[in-house]
Amino acid sequence: MSDLFSPEMLSFIAAALRSSTPVLLVVLGETLTQRVGVINLGVEGQMLVGAITGFAVTLASGSPTLGLLAGMFAATLLSAVHALLSLYFGANQIASGLAVLILGAGLSAFYGIPYVGEKISGFGSMAGVPLLGPLLGQLSVSVLIALLLTPLIGVWLYTTRTGLAWRAVGESTESARAMGINPLLIQWLGVLVGGLLSGLAGAALSVDYTSNWIENISSGRGLVAVGLVIVARWNPYLALPAALLYGGSEALYLRMQTWGVGVSPYLLSTLPYVIPLSVLVVTSGRLRQRGGGMPEGLKAVFKGS
């Protein structure tokens, strides 16, 4: 037991949580998007737009809170492009997501140029909090937000009427309509909420986690998060362990090098991708019996034209 709470273990847990946070926020948002039957690969581009907007607004206003909010707003706007293309114009969702990804990557790099090398101040340290100080001091505000959002979204999705409506839309728009629900409205909301959370993830990355902006700061974390949604079986509660697979292995392979482990860093750095894939493979047997856990509406995307 004492090992579990040794300073080394505590700092590793903190590192894993920090690494996981941007991914976790995207997984949560994308879970909701996919739960209404829409997949959005554009989250990567939305993260980038959220990151630069958050950084720029924090720099201008001096308020990291305002920065996070602005990042969420900008990414939501970009996600509306995905909703427009896929829900209104009826374009293929995978393709539309990639269009949004490219747009977001281009726009953030283009408008981000004057912000490289600028200094912003993120949130203060939480080390002074009684009792939990030793752990909280190593975490940051966005980690706590993500950890709080996880159960909130789970409870909302599984126990509330609106949560039920969202799940119904994802399973079958026809039967949802029969229940008196407007499926198109809920699908739009699903995409926009996914955009909101991806923007929070991006702004958390630039404003809170690194206090830095650089072209392509998300480095593929958004795309990986889309994969982790499937690892988490579209279940918000499982989003945390799924995100920890990525963040934990990233923190682990960087730490292993400080222990003097004699393995190529390039091979070690495949861990954040190999481990989620392995989990997907190992758990697939049980998944299959339950129809994969994929929302029915989403299956149509993968079978569609």
């Binding site: 009826g90 995978i94 393709a95 490219i102 889309v226 091979l267 190999v274 493979v281 993968f302």
Partner: protein, 344 residues
């Protein structure tokens, strides 16, 4: 909207409308950024197709995109969405290079087929891996190919930083230069290489086999209804492996061609986003093999012409990325299924 929907019933008018909207978007973007829109747009077009040199470089750029687009379009025949072009490209380059390093100095007629086979086998393995996971245990192929992309890139990094590093190149992370026998032939004193010819042949063959043969019909049947297809005696898992494997093999050829002709050795940064460009092209072409050929050339031209933006207008490289995103969004919007809603 209804009138518009009626207009875009025909694919040619959809193309024309997309081109018009994209041109307007480019002009608007240049104007917004304080450049002479028409002059700059003209430079872009000239940069892609203006003279023999521009055209040759457009084709150089189009070659890996064409391969990667085919690697997306074939699995799509079975309803599979693969985003694994880049991973298969890198892994094919890795195994193709392994063949070269193992065989050493051989004459081109011996080396080239073996090298291409090695690369195709590697790409096929990487594609079929995702195919097997899909066919046997229903792991979503979009996600597995996505994750496999990252892994393949890192494996190439590992090889060129580690066991394959050229000791005589001041420790730069790359293999030794390939022997002369392992360089694909090029045409007319340009960098256009045999890979382009192979890619076009592959596209035509795929068109013939996947659209005109019993096998192709079987794929269509399986895609629309797995149960019926299986009832007709068509093996679903085998066909998933086949389409993913053949697609991967083609992307693998793109990888070794880039390493051989363009870089002359294996090193990181092999692909300039060819996987994702290929995906876009496949989608723009509606997964039609023959249509993919000209669209890959257009996409190659767009990317090569982006030089003009940095050269003549000192715009950052991201401006070309924005334009690509806009183009793709326009084509998706114009070509979407909304018109079915408007015109019953």
């Amino acid at each position: 909207m209804k009138g518009l929907a009626a207009i875009v019933q025909h694919s040619s008018s959809r193309g024309a409308l997309s081109a018009l909207l994209f041109t307007l978007a480019c002009l608007g973007f240049f104007w917004l950024n304080g450049h002479q829109p028409v002059a700059l747009f003209r430079e872009m077009v000239l940069g892609a197709f203006g003279d023999g040199y521009a055209l040759s470089e457009t084709l150089v750029k189009a070659t890996p995109i064409l391969f990667c687009a085919l690697a997306v379009a074939l699995p799509a025949r079975l309803g599979l969405i693969s985003v694994g072009g880049d991973g298969q490209l890198y892994f094919g380059a890795l195994t193709g290079t392994a063949v070269i390093l193992a065989l050493g100095d051989l004459s081109a007629p011996v080396m080239l087929p073996l090298m291409l086979l090695g690369a195709a086998a590697g790409g096929a393995l990487w594609g079929a891996l995702a195919g097997a996971l899909r066919a046997r245990i229903e792991v979503n192929e979009t996600i597995s190919t996505l994750l496999l992309n990252y892994i393949a890139v890192l494996l190439v990094d590992y090889a060129v930083h580690g066991p394959w590093k050229d000791q005589s190149n001041l420790g730069w992370p790359a293999t030794s230069p390939f022997p002369a026998g392992a360089i694909l032939p090029t045409f007319f004193d340009t960098r256009v290489h045999l890979g382009l010819l192979l890619a076009v042949i592959a596209a035509v063959l795929l068109y013939i086999f996947a659209s005109r043969s019993r096998w192709g019909l079987g794929l269509t049947l399986l895609r629309s209804n797995q149960r019926v297809g299986r009832g007709a005696g068509i093996n679903y898992p085998l066909n998933v492996l086949l389409v993913m494997g053949i697609g991967g093999a083609l992307a693998g050829l793109a990888g070794i061609a880039e390493a051989s002709v363009i870089q002359g050795r294996l090193q990181g940064g092999l692909s300039a986003g060819y996987g994702i460009s290929g995906f876009l092209v496949a989608w723009l072409a509606g997964q039609k093999f023959l249509l993919i050929i000209p669209l890959a050339v257009l996409m190659g031209g767009l990317q090569a012409s982006a030089d003009s933006l940095q050269l003549f207008a000192q715009m950052p490289s991201s401006s070309a990325v924005i334009l690509q995103g806009i183009l793709f969004a326009i084509v998706l919007a114009v070509g979407g299924r909304w018109r079915e809603r408007m015109v019953p």
